[in-house]
């Protein structure tokens, strides 16, 4: 009897917490497809707001994807070899390097953005281009890629594989591409999902680094929250959800598979 009471109490509490998190998201989704949110869903269901968002903000959505994939390309090209080097080299130097590249997670994005602005703000064409935002996103997402790949190296016996291939006469670069990278694939994919998800949703850095010509999706969202009617802001948020939720599900599947191993 007593156990039942405790169980029910905890269940109600947990449901309440879930409601706190989910209800606003549901409100936002329904507001995005309602003709008039003030009058309620009975005023009718429409996609007009979604189309209006597409007309107004399609460029922000495309730019966000461009920046996310550019950041992914850089973190892959730089982060994966670096993870291999840090793992192979080991020792204090590797720990220090890992520590330094992880700092951007511990320091608020606002501070990093200010630092970038104060250093490169004078280079007009760089400061005004989308590559300036990519630079910020690369610094912010790099530790997730490097750590994710290093986590796989810790479970796979890279050294033996590497030495085995070396004894067969493969050059270091060949070994890296043909032996190390294929074995690191789970970490690379998990890191890639993380980089894309974080980049698509990044606001703190991006708000400081953007210009009127380089607005990303979260910048557009902030803009619509401040100046558009609730239905448009909601429809925009709905588009963001549709983009981000498949990524989250993919990450979850990855995490589950990782646990199963």
């Amino acid at each position: 009897m007593r156990d039942r009471l405790i169980f029910s109490g905890q269940l109600v509490f947990t449901l309440g917490v879930a409601a706190f998190l989910v209800v606003p998201a549901v409100l936002s989704i329904s507001a995005g497809v309602t003709v008039n949110y003030f009058r309620g869903i009975s005023s009718g269901v429409t996609l007009q707001w979604v189309f209006q968002v597409w007309d107004l903000y399609a460029d922000t959505i495309l730019l966000s994807f461009l920046i996310a994939f550019a950041a992914l390309a850089v973190t892959l090209l730089i982060g994966v070899p670096a993870a291999y080097a840090l793992h192979t080299h080991g020792g204090r130097l590797s720990r220090i390097v890992e520590e330094v590249i992880t700092l951007p997670i511990a320091i608020p994005g606002l501070a990093i953005a200010l630092a970038l602005l104060l250093t490169y703000g004078g280079f007009r064409s760089f400061r005004g281009s989308w590559l300036f935002i990519v630079a910020g996103h690369v610094i912010f997402t790099m530790p997730f890629m490097v750590r994710s790949v290093m986590a796989v190296f810790a479970t796979v016996d890279v050294r033996t594989l590497d030495e085995g291939a070396a004894s067969l006469g493969a050059s270091p670069a060949r070994r890296f591409l043909d032996v190390i990278v294929p074995n690191a694939t789970p970490g690379i994919l998990a890191g890639a999902l993380m980089v894309i998800t974080l980049s698509l949703g990044e606001f703190n850095l991006t708000w400081m680094l953007h210009t009127p010509l380089t607005k990303t999706l979260p910048i557009g969202l902030a803009d619509s929250y401040a100046s558009m009617r609730l239905e448009v802001a909601s429809a925009y948020t709905l588009i963001f959800f549709i983009m981000i939720i498949p990524l989250l599900i993919a990450m979850q599947i990855f995490a589950d598979r990782g646990q199963g191993r």
Partner: protein
């Protein structure tokens, strides 16, 4: 023959070592150019104000900045404590019981993980804003609209919104690793359910509390998007830095303040890591 083989062997070891350095080089260059150099510049600019190095102390000595710092710390601490309590109750429940719909419930509790701060702010507006659910319900029931999204309470709710999913995951993982035998033993020795929780379960979760609490605190200290969306009259450190930089063009002060904020969040996370041993990192 012998000489040849060993010569070749040494050659390949050498080239392997230089290959490893070559792998690390691009990361070193990018980190130096876009992180270390800018951060050094930020530190220099912070001391270039009219007060020089003393500009770094302004966060403590200037009454307005100090009040904002205290505001931010109190708000972040309150967020951390409430989040830990909420996440422990819910996380323990979800890890200890198997029932229909459990996976869905876990998914519901963790999906806001990827929401940027601005979206969290909008969620709070939909809950407690002028056209929000709470205002709507209270208006119908009591004839008075309750609107608090744009006050410090709205901000607090927003911070809870993005902290709970992060902390719940850590707590659930820690509960899973708990040794059920210890609780069994305590119970067989006659401890009641509350005593078991207080003396066995909660102490065992200590490292998870420290790690996830530090993340929640540091994230709340640096959160900008939520405060930005909810805007109006809320003085938290990131908003102060932002307004000093963009509106007042006060570069030295905003640099000094953001160095101060960065040192606080970094120190909290480093402290928690040395305390709990695990990897601790904030995000968002």
């Amino acid at each position: 023959m012998q000489y040849d083989a060993s010569g070749q062997g040494r050659h390949s070891i050498m080239s392997h070592r230089s290959f490893v350095w070559f792998c690390l080089l691009p990361l070193a260059v990018v980190t130096a150019a876009f992180f270390l150099l800018p951060m050094a510049r930020l530190v220099v600019v912070g001391a270039e104000g009219p007060q020089g190095m003393a500009g770094y102390l302004a966060i403590l000595t200037e009454p307005r900045y100090r009040a904002t710092l205290i505001n931010t710390v109190v708000l972040s601490a309150a967020t951390t404590i409430v989040t830990l309590v909420v996440a422990t109750i819910a996380g323990m429940f979800l890890q200890r019981h198997r029932f229909l719909g459990r996976t869905v419930l876990i998914a519901m509790l963790t999906f806001p993980l990827a929401f940027p701060g601005v979206v969290v702010g909008f969620m709070i507006i939909l809950l407690a804003g002028r056209q929000g659910l709470i205002g709507d319900l209270s208006g119908r029931m009591f004839g008075e609209k309750i609107v608090f999204a744009y006050s410090i309470y709205g901000l607090f709710l927003g911070y809870l919104y993005f902290s709970i999913p992060r902390v719940i995951l850590t707590i659930m993982a820690a509960v899973q690793k708990l040794d059920a035998g210890l609780e069994e033993a305590a119970r067989s020795l006659g401890a009641g359910p509350w005593a078991v929780q207080r003396d066995v379960v909660l102490p065992a979760l200590g490292p998870a509390f420290v790690a996830s609490g530090a993340i929640a605190f540091a994230t709340a200290m640096g959160a900008f998007g939520t405060a930005f969306t909810l805007a109006t009259n809320i003085d938290v450190l990131p908003m102060l830095i932002y307004t000093e930089f963009t509106l007042a063009a006060n570069f030295a002060t905003s640099a000094a303040l953001s160095i101060g904020l960065g040192v606080i969040t970094w120190a909290i996370l480093a402290l928690a890591r040395s305390f709990s041993g695990g990897a601790v990192a904030a995000a968002g």
